[in-house]
Symmetry: C2
Subunit: 363 residues, 2 copies
């Protein structure tokens, strides 16, 4: 156990996935964590899990972390600011402009509030999924604002670093427009695509491949939470969705008369713009290196993939990414392994010498 950067008590309000995970992570660093939740059942569960202790009259927290649904975030922040006049307050909601604006409207003491947002979580939430390591290596955005002394940002940075996350500082406006693009709009797009499948015949579904699975995976997210997120960031989300719709209209118009002059060019340009856009997404470790991919055939039986990875490890090669791909009806899987391009050829040769079938290799 390493010591914490955070000094003093930390009060966590809201014992869901994020709140309970903050509690578990800080407790692992030896911090005295107080947990509170409006639901006694949730609270007891989180305390049983070791996320912290019950509040006492003598509590004097340095920092309060509000981890409640977006809809009630501002009200809870305001109540905590009033109840603990010496504490700095942050929150972990997925939107940052709306809570600050609401607090200002309500005349809350915003010079003790700094919003933040860990880019962490999963499709399924709840305290039952909480874990001390939820935030390790994830970006955690901190959004300072004018009405507070900048020095206090350091306290939030200590929290982020204690939890193993990577602090990223930007304005609330920058944050909201960024997550609209990389998180909120993709959610809408994927959900609408998946909803098209409701009317499909079974025979069509049987032709589903990895492309459909990938494009719709996040459509299994919790509607209740996402309604709140989308509602609170509607301005930025709508702006991007409108531009998306205009592009979509362009493709629809072109495909309505695919042999008309310019139609093919319009579709080709839309597809090419997708090529350049997707290339901008940072890969593993946020770096811009190029990786090669090896596709290796693996029998679908216990131990086969382990045997493959043992040989890769024995070759001294670190996989940058791994993906196992299956087809309906197949008793064979394809393991797609990303490795640094400089070791790719050597690894392919060693695996083939070991009897593995390399199904393909691309840069």
């Amino acid at each position: 156990m390493n010591g914490s950067r955070i000094v003093g008590e930390v009060r966590v309000v809201g014992a869901g996935l994020l709140g309970a995970s903050v509690g578990l992570g800080l407790r692992a660093k030896g911090v005295d964590v107080i947990v509170h939740d409006s639901s006694p059942a949730n609270l007891n569960l989180a305390i049983d899990y070791g996320a912290g202790r019950l509040a006492k009259d003598t509590d004097n927290p340095t920092l309060i972390v509000v981890a409640v649904p977006p809809d009630v975030t501002a009200a809870v922040i305001a109540a905590e600011l009033a109840a603990y006049p010496d504490a700095l307050v942050t929150d972990v909601a997925s939107v940052k402009v709306a809570p600050l604006a609401e607090l200002r409207e309500a005349g809350a003491d915003t010079d003790r509030y700094i919003g933040s947002h860990p880019l962490a979580g999963r499709e399924r939430g709840g305290a039952i999924s909480a874990r001390a390591d939820l935030f390790i290596g994830r970006p955690w955005v901190i959004t300072p604002h004018d009405s507070m002394p900048l020095g206090q940002v350091g306290v939030i940075e200590d929290l982020v670093l204690d939890l193993g996350a990577v602090p990223v500082t930007m304005s609330a406006e920058q944050h909201d427009s960024s997550v609209a693009l990389v998180s909120h709009v993709p959610q809408v797009i994927a959900s609408l695509l998946a909803s098209r499948l409701n009317a499909a015949p079974e025979s069509a579904m049987s032709l589903s491949g990895q492309g459909l699975r990938d494009t719709t995976r996040i459509a299994s997210s919790d509607p209740e939470l996402w309604v709140q997120i989308l509602g609170a960031n509607s301005r930025d989300v709508v702006q991007i969705l409108r531009a998306y719709r205009d592009d979509l209209d362009g493709v629809i118009n072109a495909l309505e008369r695919p042999s008309a002059r310019g139609a093919r060019r319009a579709v080709a340009e839309a597809l090419s713009a997708g090529n350049t856009g997707v290339a901008r997404i940072p890969g593993k470790h946020g770096q811009d290196r190029r990786f090669g991919q090896l596709v290796v055939m693996v029998d679908d039986k216990p131990g086969e993939l382990a045997r493959l990875l043992t040989e890769i490890g024995a070759a001294g090669v670190n996989m940058e990414d791994l993906r196992l791909e299956h087809s309906p009806g197949a008793q064979i899987g394809l393991a797609e392994i990303s490795v640094l391009t400089e070791v790719e050829e050597r690894l392919a040769a060693e695996l083939e010498a070991g009897g593995w079938k390399i199904a393909g290799a691309w840069k």
Copy 2:
């Protein structure tokens, strides 16, 4: 080497990824494969790879497989029907209504033609990526039509089975509307989403997560090929895209005034419809069983994942799926392992006993 079901010579026209892979797969079964390509360079490459031999005047193929771009598929089929009056001809294009209609218009001998379509391939194509096992376990749609004796379908089925694929029979119309939904529309949706990233600031891109990566992965596909596919299946694609746009308009309207009466319900219903839609996608092996997922922390160094999978194998558990997840800046990965629900608890207990950290488990 097992013997082939196919009897006689097979001529493959077009030595790209699919054609060369058909050649390699049939040659592995001992079939005499003739390869042809309008590009001598492509042809020589495919022959060097072992996909078949050069054509001779004495060739008398039983079956001809046309594997050329969609735009020229019908013309090449017609030429092959004329050149080899005893052969049955199939093609592997991603659309099936258009080639048959074009052939009929041109007065071709369609009673010797049966279209087909293997649901196989990758974002990157070319003979250089060809492999004998490309089709193993994949669905391969066969589209019989009225103007031909049904008995000949058996020859195409032999081809499909020789290549290890799973024959699926449906009409050309059924095929085209099915792939419009599960393949062509997702391509458009993903490309348009990825193209939104072109204007994003670096700071926004640094917040990218697995959700964005998944929803946009196929946006790296080849625009030239996809323009042809979308153009040839424009009617079915446009129909679905229009319904998608209507749904999108509904969400945009709701988010333009998120606190208006009914707005939240509209957004919630769109998200819920996504939940039920994505649940219809068949999982591994095309079966409907429910799997549990274990998320295990894995240090990002050579051999760690292998060690994990070895222990899973030693526990006698077969992974149904595996996904490795990374975060920017993280030196730790999360391995998300799908296993049958009946072994999930036991495996979690055994792994934890072995010192692994289970980060979460959901049904």
